[in-house]
Symmetry: C2
Subunit: 275 residues, 2 copies
Protein backbone atom coordinates (compact mmCIF):
# COMPACT_ATOMS: atom_id res chain seq x y z
CA UNK A 1 0.00 0.00 0.00
CA UNK A 2 1.44 3.39 -0.90
CA UNK A 3 1.18 6.65 1.03
CA UNK A 4 -1.65 8.08 -1.03
CA UNK A 5 -3.72 4.91 -0.63
CA UNK A 6 -3.20 4.97 3.11
CA UNK A 7 -4.32 8.59 3.30
CA UNK A 8 -7.38 7.74 1.19
CA UNK A 9 -8.32 4.99 3.65
CA UNK A 10 -7.98 7.47 6.50
CA UNK A 11 -10.30 9.97 4.81
CA UNK A 12 -12.77 7.25 3.90
CA UNK A 13 -12.90 5.67 7.36
CA UNK A 14 -12.57 8.99 9.22
CA UNK A 15 -9.99 7.19 11.34
CA UNK A 16 -6.24 6.87 11.74
CA UNK A 17 -6.52 4.18 14.37
CA UNK A 18 -4.23 1.18 14.39
CA UNK A 19 -5.46 -1.70 16.56
CA UNK A 20 -2.60 -3.49 18.31
CA UNK A 21 -3.12 -7.24 18.25
CA UNK A 22 -1.16 -8.24 21.36
CA UNK A 23 -3.05 -11.28 22.61
CA UNK A 24 -1.64 -12.49 25.92
CA UNK A 25 -2.76 -16.12 26.27
CA UNK A 26 -3.28 -15.60 29.99
CA UNK A 27 -5.70 -12.72 29.43
CA UNK A 28 -8.00 -14.21 26.79
CA UNK A 29 -11.71 -14.59 27.57
CA UNK A 30 -12.20 -17.90 29.37
CA UNK A 31 -14.71 -19.26 26.87
CA UNK A 32 -12.04 -19.30 24.14
CA UNK A 33 -9.76 -21.65 26.06
CA UNK A 34 -11.20 -24.74 24.36
CA UNK A 35 -10.83 -23.45 20.81
CA UNK A 36 -8.31 -25.21 18.60
CA UNK A 37 -6.39 -21.92 18.23
CA UNK A 38 -7.60 -19.53 20.96
CA UNK A 39 -5.30 -16.68 19.93
CA UNK A 40 -6.47 -16.74 16.34
CA UNK A 41 -10.13 -17.00 17.37
CA UNK A 42 -9.63 -14.02 19.64
CA UNK A 43 -7.87 -12.01 16.92
CA UNK A 44 -10.40 -12.91 14.25
CA UNK A 45 -13.28 -11.66 16.38
CA UNK A 46 -11.39 -8.48 17.33
CA UNK A 47 -10.37 -7.81 13.73
CA UNK A 48 -13.82 -8.29 12.25
CA UNK A 49 -15.44 -6.21 14.99
CA UNK A 50 -12.99 -3.30 14.88
CA UNK A 51 -12.20 -3.19 11.15
CA UNK A 52 -14.86 -0.52 10.41
CA UNK A 53 -13.19 1.85 12.89
CA UNK A 54 -9.51 1.45 12.07
CA UNK A 55 -7.20 1.57 9.08
CA UNK A 56 -4.44 -0.66 10.39
CA UNK A 57 -3.67 -3.70 12.52
CA UNK A 58 -0.40 -4.20 14.35
CA UNK A 59 0.37 -7.63 15.77
CA UNK A 60 3.39 -7.56 18.09
CA UNK A 61 5.45 -10.67 17.45
CA UNK A 62 6.44 -11.12 21.11
CA UNK A 63 2.94 -12.23 21.98
CA UNK A 64 2.99 -14.92 19.30
CA UNK A 65 6.57 -16.11 19.76
CA UNK A 66 5.90 -16.66 23.46
CA UNK A 67 3.55 -19.48 22.47
CA UNK A 68 6.16 -21.22 20.35
CA UNK A 69 5.19 -22.91 17.11
CA UNK A 70 1.47 -22.62 17.69
CA UNK A 71 1.95 -18.91 18.33
CA UNK A 72 3.60 -18.50 14.95
CA UNK A 73 0.76 -20.44 13.41
CA UNK A 74 -1.69 -18.01 15.06
CA UNK A 75 0.31 -15.05 13.74
CA UNK A 76 0.34 -16.38 10.18
CA UNK A 77 -3.39 -17.11 10.29
CA UNK A 78 -4.04 -13.62 11.64
CA UNK A 79 -2.15 -11.97 8.76
CA UNK A 80 -3.91 -14.21 6.25
CA UNK A 81 -7.30 -13.43 7.75
CA UNK A 82 -6.73 -9.68 7.48
CA UNK A 83 -5.42 -9.97 3.91
CA UNK A 84 -8.37 -12.08 2.78
CA UNK A 85 -11.17 -10.22 4.55
CA UNK A 86 -9.94 -6.68 5.03
CA UNK A 87 -7.66 -6.11 2.05
CA UNK A 88 -7.47 -2.33 2.53
CA UNK A 89 -6.15 -2.52 6.09
CA UNK A 90 -2.46 -1.75 6.57
CA UNK A 91 -0.66 -4.57 8.43
CA UNK A 92 2.32 -3.69 10.60
CA UNK A 93 4.38 -6.54 12.00
CA UNK A 94 5.73 -5.07 15.23
CA UNK A 95 8.91 -7.08 15.47
CA UNK A 96 11.61 -4.43 16.07
CA UNK A 97 14.09 -6.41 14.03
CA UNK A 98 17.47 -5.21 12.73
CA UNK A 99 20.78 -7.01 12.21
CA UNK A 100 23.83 -6.91 9.92
CA UNK A 101 22.95 -6.55 6.24
CA UNK A 102 22.76 -10.16 5.10
CA UNK A 103 20.72 -11.06 8.20
CA UNK A 104 18.31 -8.14 7.88
CA UNK A 105 17.78 -9.31 4.30
CA UNK A 106 16.60 -12.65 5.72
CA UNK A 107 14.13 -10.89 8.03
CA UNK A 108 12.90 -8.81 5.09
CA UNK A 109 12.27 -11.99 3.13
CA UNK A 110 10.30 -13.43 6.04
CA UNK A 111 7.99 -10.51 6.58
CA UNK A 112 7.63 -9.10 3.07
CA UNK A 113 7.78 -12.24 0.91
CA UNK A 114 6.64 -15.15 3.06
CA UNK A 115 4.12 -13.20 5.11
CA UNK A 116 3.19 -10.22 2.93
CA UNK A 117 2.67 -7.66 5.69
CA UNK A 118 2.79 -3.99 4.68
CA UNK A 119 5.32 -2.76 7.22
CA UNK A 120 7.81 -3.90 9.81
CA UNK A 121 9.12 -2.05 12.84
CA UNK A 122 12.92 -1.88 12.85
CA UNK A 123 15.44 -0.78 15.52
CA UNK A 124 18.05 1.75 14.35
CA UNK A 125 21.01 0.98 16.65
CA UNK A 126 22.98 -0.98 14.04
CA UNK A 127 22.68 1.74 11.39
CA UNK A 128 22.22 1.91 7.64
CA UNK A 129 23.02 -1.61 6.44
CA UNK A 130 20.70 -3.05 9.10
CA UNK A 131 17.77 -1.02 7.73
CA UNK A 132 18.20 -0.71 3.97
CA UNK A 133 17.51 -4.39 3.13
CA UNK A 134 13.93 -3.73 4.23
CA UNK A 135 13.61 -0.83 1.76
CA UNK A 136 14.00 -2.95 -1.37
CA UNK A 137 10.34 -3.94 -1.60
CA UNK A 138 7.86 -1.82 -3.59
CA UNK A 139 4.84 -0.84 -1.51
CA UNK A 140 6.43 -2.09 1.73
CA UNK A 141 7.45 0.08 4.65
CA UNK A 142 10.04 0.33 7.38
CA UNK A 143 8.75 1.79 10.63
CA UNK A 144 11.94 2.87 12.37
CA UNK A 145 12.08 3.41 16.13
CA UNK A 146 12.80 7.08 16.83
CA UNK A 147 11.38 8.29 20.18
CA UNK A 148 9.55 5.44 21.87
CA UNK A 149 6.80 5.71 24.47
CA UNK A 150 8.47 3.90 27.37
CA UNK A 151 10.43 5.24 30.34
CA UNK A 152 13.66 3.68 29.05
CA UNK A 153 13.45 5.88 25.96
CA UNK A 154 15.08 8.57 28.12
CA UNK A 155 18.21 6.45 28.62
CA UNK A 156 19.72 6.84 25.15
CA UNK A 157 17.26 8.39 22.69
CA UNK A 158 17.44 11.83 24.32
CA UNK A 159 21.24 11.94 24.58
CA UNK A 160 22.57 15.16 23.03
CA UNK A 161 25.71 15.24 20.93
CA UNK A 162 28.23 18.06 21.01
CA UNK A 163 26.02 20.16 18.68
CA UNK A 164 22.93 19.63 20.81
CA UNK A 165 21.34 17.12 18.45
CA UNK A 166 19.53 14.38 20.35
CA UNK A 167 19.97 10.76 19.27
CA UNK A 168 16.37 10.38 18.05
CA UNK A 169 16.87 13.52 15.96
CA UNK A 170 20.04 12.09 14.48
CA UNK A 171 18.12 8.89 13.69
CA UNK A 172 15.46 10.94 11.88
CA UNK A 173 17.99 13.05 10.00
CA UNK A 174 20.43 10.32 8.99
CA UNK A 175 17.80 7.71 8.11
CA UNK A 176 15.91 10.13 5.86
CA UNK A 177 18.77 9.68 3.40
CA UNK A 178 18.08 5.92 3.26
CA UNK A 179 14.48 6.13 2.11
CA UNK A 180 11.84 8.80 1.66
CA UNK A 181 8.43 9.30 3.21
CA UNK A 182 6.97 6.89 0.66
CA UNK A 183 8.91 4.03 2.25
CA UNK A 184 9.66 4.94 5.85
CA UNK A 185 7.65 5.83 8.91
CA UNK A 186 8.88 6.54 12.44
CA UNK A 187 7.75 5.39 15.86
CA UNK A 188 7.12 8.37 18.13
CA UNK A 189 5.45 7.65 21.47
CA UNK A 190 2.23 9.46 22.38
CA UNK A 191 3.74 10.15 25.80
CA UNK A 192 6.25 12.56 24.24
CA UNK A 193 3.88 15.59 23.87
CA UNK A 194 5.55 18.65 22.35
CA UNK A 195 8.44 16.54 21.13
CA UNK A 196 6.24 15.97 18.07
CA UNK A 197 7.10 19.54 17.05
CA UNK A 198 10.79 18.64 17.02
CA UNK A 199 10.05 15.45 15.09
CA UNK A 200 8.07 17.40 12.49
CA UNK A 201 10.97 19.76 11.89
CA UNK A 202 13.01 16.78 10.67
CA UNK A 203 10.23 14.64 9.24
CA UNK A 204 7.55 17.07 8.06
CA UNK A 205 5.78 14.66 5.72
CA UNK A 206 6.43 11.19 7.14
CA UNK A 207 3.77 9.05 8.67
CA UNK A 208 4.39 8.47 12.37
CA UNK A 209 3.29 5.34 14.17
CA UNK A 210 2.23 6.50 17.61
CA UNK A 211 1.93 3.98 20.43
CA UNK A 212 1.20 4.92 24.01
CA UNK A 213 -2.31 6.36 23.84
CA UNK A 214 -4.48 4.74 26.52
CA UNK A 215 -2.80 2.28 28.90
CA UNK A 216 0.52 4.12 28.64
CA UNK A 217 -0.99 7.57 29.31
CA UNK A 218 -0.54 9.53 26.05
CA UNK A 219 -3.13 12.07 24.88
CA UNK A 220 -4.69 11.87 21.43
CA UNK A 221 -5.41 15.59 21.35
CA UNK A 222 -1.82 16.49 22.12
CA UNK A 223 -0.44 14.06 19.54
CA UNK A 224 -2.68 15.59 16.86
CA UNK A 225 -2.01 19.16 17.91
CA UNK A 226 1.74 18.78 17.50
CA UNK A 227 2.06 15.87 15.09
CA UNK A 228 -0.67 15.98 12.43
CA UNK A 229 0.14 17.00 8.85
CA UNK A 230 -2.13 17.98 5.96
CA UNK A 231 -2.13 14.32 4.90
CA UNK A 232 -2.85 13.28 8.50
CA UNK A 233 0.59 11.68 8.86
CA UNK A 234 -0.39 9.72 11.95
CA UNK A 235 -1.29 6.14 12.74
CA UNK A 236 -2.24 6.06 16.40
CA UNK A 237 -2.07 2.65 17.98
CA UNK A 238 -4.16 1.34 20.83
CA UNK A 239 -3.80 -2.23 22.04
CA UNK A 240 -4.87 -3.04 25.58
CA UNK A 241 -7.54 -0.32 25.75
CA UNK A 242 -9.36 -1.96 22.85
CA UNK A 243 -8.65 -5.67 22.83
CA UNK A 244 -9.20 -6.12 26.57
CA UNK A 245 -12.21 -3.80 26.85
CA UNK A 246 -14.12 -6.81 28.19
CA UNK A 247 -12.97 -10.26 29.25
CA UNK A 248 -16.42 -11.80 28.84
CA UNK A 249 -18.22 -13.37 25.90
CA UNK A 250 -18.93 -9.83 24.69
CA UNK A 251 -15.22 -9.06 24.21
CA UNK A 252 -15.53 -8.37 20.48
CA UNK A 253 -18.52 -6.03 20.87
CA UNK A 254 -16.71 -4.24 23.69
CA UNK A 255 -13.60 -3.91 21.52
CA UNK A 256 -15.73 -2.51 18.69
CA UNK A 257 -17.30 0.02 21.06
CA UNK A 258 -13.88 1.07 22.37
CA UNK A 259 -12.49 1.37 18.83
CA UNK A 260 -15.53 3.31 17.72
CA UNK A 261 -15.11 5.76 20.58
CA UNK A 262 -11.55 6.50 19.47
CA UNK A 263 -12.65 6.67 15.84
CA UNK A 264 -15.30 9.27 16.67
CA UNK A 265 -12.70 11.43 18.38
CA UNK A 266 -10.47 11.01 15.35
CA UNK A 267 -13.28 11.92 12.94
CA UNK A 268 -13.85 15.17 14.83
CA UNK A 269 -10.18 16.02 14.69
CA UNK A 270 -9.94 15.24 10.96
CA UNK A 271 -13.01 17.36 10.23
CA UNK A 272 -11.70 20.24 12.32
CA UNK A 273 -8.51 20.06 10.26
CA UNK A 274 -10.46 20.04 7.00
CA UNK A 275 -9.30 16.54 6.09
CA UNK B 1 25.30 -21.58 33.14
CA UNK B 2 27.14 -19.12 35.34
CA UNK B 3 30.29 -17.17 34.57
CA UNK B 4 32.62 -19.51 36.44
CA UNK B 5 31.20 -22.57 34.65
CA UNK B 6 31.66 -20.89 31.30
CA UNK B 7 35.28 -20.06 32.10
CA UNK B 8 35.85 -23.67 33.21
CA UNK B 9 34.54 -24.92 29.86
CA UNK B 10 36.92 -22.54 28.09
CA UNK B 11 39.91 -23.85 30.05
CA UNK B 12 38.85 -27.44 29.54
CA UNK B 13 38.25 -27.14 25.80
CA UNK B 14 41.14 -24.71 25.22
CA UNK B 15 38.67 -22.75 23.15
CA UNK B 16 36.47 -19.68 23.37
CA UNK B 17 34.89 -20.30 19.99
CA UNK B 18 31.19 -19.80 19.40
CA UNK B 19 29.88 -21.44 16.24
CA UNK B 20 27.20 -19.34 14.55
CA UNK B 21 24.38 -21.54 13.27
CA UNK B 22 23.07 -19.37 10.42
CA UNK B 23 21.82 -21.93 7.92
CA UNK B 24 20.67 -20.25 4.73
CA UNK B 25 18.36 -22.73 3.00
CA UNK B 26 19.74 -21.69 -0.37
CA UNK B 27 23.32 -22.53 0.64
CA UNK B 28 22.85 -25.97 2.19
CA UNK B 29 24.67 -28.95 0.65
CA UNK B 30 22.54 -30.29 -2.19
CA UNK B 31 22.33 -33.82 -0.80
CA UNK B 32 20.34 -32.55 2.22
CA UNK B 33 17.53 -31.14 0.09
CA UNK B 34 15.45 -34.32 0.38
CA UNK B 35 15.69 -34.57 4.16
CA UNK B 36 12.46 -34.06 6.09
CA UNK B 37 14.06 -31.07 7.88
CA UNK B 38 17.17 -30.04 5.91
CA UNK B 39 18.10 -27.16 8.22
CA UNK B 40 18.02 -29.34 11.31
CA UNK B 41 19.96 -32.13 9.59
CA UNK B 42 22.56 -29.58 8.56
CA UNK B 43 22.77 -28.11 12.07
CA UNK B 44 22.90 -31.47 13.78
CA UNK B 45 25.86 -32.56 11.68
CA UNK B 46 27.64 -29.22 12.18
CA UNK B 47 26.98 -29.25 15.94
CA UNK B 48 28.17 -32.80 16.51
CA UNK B 49 31.25 -32.26 14.36
CA UNK B 50 32.32 -28.93 15.87
CA UNK B 51 31.29 -29.45 19.51
CA UNK B 52 34.78 -30.63 20.58
CA UNK B 53 36.28 -27.36 19.36
CA UNK B 54 33.83 -24.78 20.67
CA UNK B 55 32.12 -23.80 23.92
CA UNK B 56 29.04 -22.14 22.48
CA UNK B 57 26.53 -22.24 19.64
CA UNK B 58 24.70 -19.17 18.38
CA UNK B 59 21.71 -19.67 16.09
CA UNK B 60 20.57 -16.39 14.52
CA UNK B 61 16.78 -16.36 14.48
CA UNK B 62 16.56 -14.55 11.13
CA UNK B 63 17.70 -17.65 9.31
CA UNK B 64 14.96 -19.74 10.91
CA UNK B 65 12.13 -17.19 10.76
CA UNK B 66 12.74 -16.79 7.03
CA UNK B 67 11.51 -20.37 6.60
CA UNK B 68 8.27 -19.72 8.47
CA UNK B 69 6.80 -22.38 10.72
CA UNK B 70 9.16 -25.11 9.60
CA UNK B 71 12.06 -22.79 10.31
CA UNK B 72 10.89 -22.33 13.89
CA UNK B 73 10.55 -26.09 14.15
CA UNK B 74 14.16 -26.42 12.97
CA UNK B 75 15.27 -23.85 15.52
CA UNK B 76 13.51 -25.60 18.40
CA UNK B 77 14.93 -28.96 17.36
CA UNK B 78 18.40 -27.43 17.14
CA UNK B 79 18.21 -26.07 20.68
CA UNK B 80 16.86 -29.37 21.97
CA UNK B 81 19.60 -31.30 20.21
CA UNK B 82 22.32 -29.17 21.80
CA UNK B 83 20.71 -29.38 25.24
CA UNK B 84 20.38 -33.18 25.05
CA UNK B 85 23.73 -34.04 23.51
CA UNK B 86 26.07 -31.21 24.45
CA UNK B 87 24.76 -30.05 27.82
CA UNK B 88 27.86 -27.97 28.64
CA UNK B 89 27.65 -25.81 25.53
CA UNK B 90 26.38 -22.28 26.01
CA UNK B 91 23.43 -21.51 23.71
CA UNK B 92 22.96 -17.93 22.53
CA UNK B 93 19.75 -17.11 20.68
CA UNK B 94 20.82 -14.25 18.42
CA UNK B 95 17.51 -12.48 18.13
CA UNK B 96 18.34 -8.84 18.93
CA UNK B 97 14.99 -8.40 20.65
CA UNK B 98 13.92 -5.48 22.85
CA UNK B 99 10.56 -3.77 23.35
CA UNK B 100 8.59 -1.97 26.06
CA UNK B 101 8.68 -3.73 29.43
CA UNK B 102 5.60 -5.94 29.26
CA UNK B 103 6.53 -7.02 25.73
CA UNK B 104 10.17 -7.74 26.53
CA UNK B 105 8.84 -9.90 29.37
CA UNK B 106 6.98 -11.97 26.76
CA UNK B 107 10.18 -12.41 24.73
CA UNK B 108 12.02 -13.43 27.91
CA UNK B 109 9.37 -16.06 28.56
CA UNK B 110 9.79 -17.40 25.02
CA UNK B 111 13.55 -17.75 25.08
CA UNK B 112 14.25 -18.56 28.72
CA UNK B 113 11.19 -20.59 29.71
CA UNK B 114 9.81 -22.18 26.56
CA UNK B 115 13.15 -22.68 24.83
CA UNK B 116 15.71 -22.77 27.66
CA UNK B 117 18.59 -21.10 25.83
CA UNK B 118 21.36 -19.62 28.01
CA UNK B 119 21.48 -16.15 26.53
CA UNK B 120 19.67 -13.78 24.22
CA UNK B 121 21.05 -10.84 22.25
CA UNK B 122 19.14 -7.63 22.99
CA UNK B 123 19.17 -4.18 21.34
CA UNK B 124 19.63 -1.22 23.74
CA UNK B 125 17.83 1.59 21.90
CA UNK B 126 14.68 1.43 24.04
CA UNK B 127 16.58 1.59 27.34
CA UNK B 128 16.27 0.05 30.76
CA UNK B 129 12.74 -1.32 30.88
CA UNK B 130 13.29 -3.01 27.52
CA UNK B 131 16.28 -4.94 28.91
CA UNK B 132 15.62 -5.67 32.59
CA UNK B 133 12.81 -8.23 32.03
CA UNK B 134 15.49 -10.51 30.57
CA UNK B 135 17.58 -10.23 33.75
CA UNK B 136 15.05 -11.92 36.02
CA UNK B 137 16.18 -15.45 35.23
CA UNK B 138 18.89 -17.14 37.31
CA UNK B 139 21.70 -18.48 35.16
CA UNK B 140 20.41 -16.71 32.04
CA UNK B 141 22.18 -13.90 30.23
CA UNK B 142 21.50 -10.76 28.25
CA UNK B 143 24.00 -10.09 25.49
CA UNK B 144 23.49 -6.39 24.82
CA UNK B 145 24.54 -4.79 21.54
CA UNK B 146 27.31 -2.26 22.22
CA UNK B 147 29.68 -1.76 19.26
CA UNK B 148 28.65 -4.04 16.41
CA UNK B 149 30.82 -5.32 13.57
CA UNK B 150 28.97 -3.84 10.61
CA UNK B 151 29.56 -0.63 8.66
CA UNK B 152 26.30 0.87 9.93
CA UNK B 153 27.65 0.71 13.48
CA UNK B 154 29.37 4.01 12.67
CA UNK B 155 26.04 5.77 12.08
CA UNK B 156 24.91 6.05 15.70
CA UNK B 157 27.05 3.94 18.05
CA UNK B 158 30.08 6.22 17.70
CA UNK B 159 28.18 9.49 18.19
CA UNK B 160 29.82 11.57 20.92
CA UNK B 161 27.79 13.49 23.47
CA UNK B 162 28.78 16.92 24.80
CA UNK B 163 31.27 15.31 27.23
CA UNK B 164 32.88 13.21 24.51
CA UNK B 165 31.25 9.96 25.58
CA UNK B 166 30.32 7.83 22.60
CA UNK B 167 26.91 6.15 22.48
CA UNK B 168 28.32 2.62 22.83
CA UNK B 169 30.24 3.81 25.90
CA UNK B 170 27.08 5.24 27.38
CA UNK B 171 25.34 1.93 26.70
CA UNK B 172 28.12 0.11 28.56
CA UNK B 173 28.15 2.56 31.47
CA UNK B 174 24.41 2.95 31.95
CA UNK B 175 23.52 -0.71 31.44
CA UNK B 176 26.11 -1.87 33.96
CA UNK B 177 23.73 -0.55 36.62
CA UNK B 178 21.00 -2.91 35.38
CA UNK B 179 22.90 -6.16 35.86
CA UNK B 180 26.44 -7.22 36.67
CA UNK B 181 28.98 -9.26 34.77
CA UNK B 182 27.31 -12.44 36.07
CA UNK B 183 24.21 -11.66 34.01
CA UNK B 184 25.22 -9.44 31.12
CA UNK B 185 27.60 -9.66 28.20
CA UNK B 186 28.16 -7.18 25.40
CA UNK B 187 28.46 -7.51 21.64
CA UNK B 188 31.67 -5.91 20.38
CA UNK B 189 32.59 -6.50 16.75
CA UNK B 190 35.97 -8.00 15.91
CA UNK B 191 36.34 -5.32 13.24
CA UNK B 192 36.69 -2.66 15.95
CA UNK B 193 40.39 -3.30 16.84
CA UNK B 194 41.72 -1.03 19.57
CA UNK B 195 38.21 -0.02 20.53
CA UNK B 196 38.38 -3.09 22.78
CA UNK B 197 40.64 -1.07 25.06
CA UNK B 198 37.91 1.54 25.47
CA UNK B 199 35.33 -1.18 26.07
CA UNK B 200 37.53 -2.76 28.75
CA UNK B 201 37.79 0.54 30.62
CA UNK B 202 34.04 0.42 31.15
CA UNK B 203 33.48 -3.35 31.25
CA UNK B 204 36.72 -4.78 32.67
CA UNK B 205 35.27 -8.14 33.71
CA UNK B 206 32.33 -8.75 31.38
CA UNK B 207 32.28 -11.44 28.77
CA UNK B 208 32.16 -9.99 25.26
CA UNK B 209 30.51 -11.76 22.36
CA UNK B 210 32.66 -10.96 19.36
CA UNK B 211 31.27 -11.45 15.85
CA UNK B 212 33.10 -10.44 12.71
CA UNK B 213 36.14 -12.72 12.71
CA UNK B 214 36.47 -14.36 9.29
CA UNK B 215 33.98 -13.35 6.59
CA UNK B 216 33.65 -9.83 8.04
CA UNK B 217 37.41 -9.29 8.27
CA UNK B 218 38.20 -9.06 12.00
CA UNK B 219 41.47 -10.38 13.46
CA UNK B 220 41.50 -12.90 16.30
CA UNK B 221 44.95 -11.77 17.48
CA UNK B 222 43.89 -8.15 17.72
CA UNK B 223 40.68 -9.00 19.56
CA UNK B 224 42.64 -11.00 22.12
CA UNK B 225 45.43 -8.45 22.47
CA UNK B 226 43.00 -5.67 23.42
CA UNK B 227 40.00 -7.57 24.74
CA UNK B 228 41.08 -10.63 26.74
CA UNK B 229 40.82 -10.67 30.54
CA UNK B 230 42.31 -13.02 33.12
CA UNK B 231 39.11 -15.07 32.90
CA UNK B 232 39.30 -14.96 29.11
CA UNK B 233 36.19 -12.76 28.88
CA UNK B 234 35.68 -13.47 25.18
CA UNK B 235 33.37 -15.61 23.11
CA UNK B 236 34.50 -15.24 19.52
CA UNK B 237 31.89 -16.15 16.96
CA UNK B 238 32.46 -17.56 13.51
CA UNK B 239 29.56 -18.52 11.28
CA UNK B 240 30.10 -18.60 7.54
CA UNK B 241 33.81 -19.48 7.77
CA UNK B 242 32.91 -22.70 9.59
CA UNK B 243 29.48 -23.84 8.52
CA UNK B 244 30.09 -23.27 4.81
CA UNK B 245 33.67 -24.57 4.75
CA UNK B 246 32.48 -27.12 2.18
CA UNK B 247 29.22 -27.43 0.28
CA UNK B 248 29.73 -31.11 -0.49
CA UNK B 249 28.86 -34.28 1.39
CA UNK B 250 31.95 -33.63 3.54
CA UNK B 251 30.49 -30.36 4.91
CA UNK B 252 30.55 -31.54 8.54
CA UNK B 253 34.15 -32.77 8.39
CA UNK B 254 35.17 -29.53 6.70
CA UNK B 255 33.36 -27.53 9.40
CA UNK B 256 35.14 -29.56 12.08
CA UNK B 257 38.50 -28.90 10.44
CA UNK B 258 37.77 -25.17 10.20
CA UNK B 259 36.62 -25.04 13.83
CA UNK B 260 39.64 -27.02 14.93
CA UNK B 261 41.96 -24.60 13.16
CA UNK B 262 40.43 -21.68 15.08
CA UNK B 263 40.50 -23.68 18.32
CA UNK B 264 44.22 -24.40 17.91
CA UNK B 265 44.93 -20.69 17.51
CA UNK B 266 42.81 -20.04 20.60
CA UNK B 267 44.63 -22.72 22.61
CA UNK B 268 47.95 -21.07 21.82
CA UNK B 269 46.65 -17.69 22.90
CA UNK B 270 45.19 -19.07 26.14
CA UNK B 271 48.43 -20.85 26.94
CA UNK B 272 50.49 -17.75 26.20
CA UNK B 273 48.24 -15.89 28.63
CA UNK B 274 48.68 -18.57 31.30
CA UNK B 275 45.02 -19.54 31.21
Amino acid sequence: MNKQELFEQIRLKRSFLCVGLDPDERKLPAHLADAEDPIFEFNRAIIDATAPYCVSFKPNLAFYESCGLKGWQSFIRTVEHIRANHPHHFIIADAKRGDIGNTSAMYARTFFEELDVDALTVAPYMGEDSVTPFLNYAGKWVVLLAATSNKGSLDFQMTEDAEGERLFEKVLRVSSAWGGDDRMMYVVGATRGRLFEDVRRLAPHHFLLVPGVGAQGGSLEEVCRYGMTDECGLLVNSSRGIIYASSGTDFAEAAAAAARQVQEQMAEILTARGL
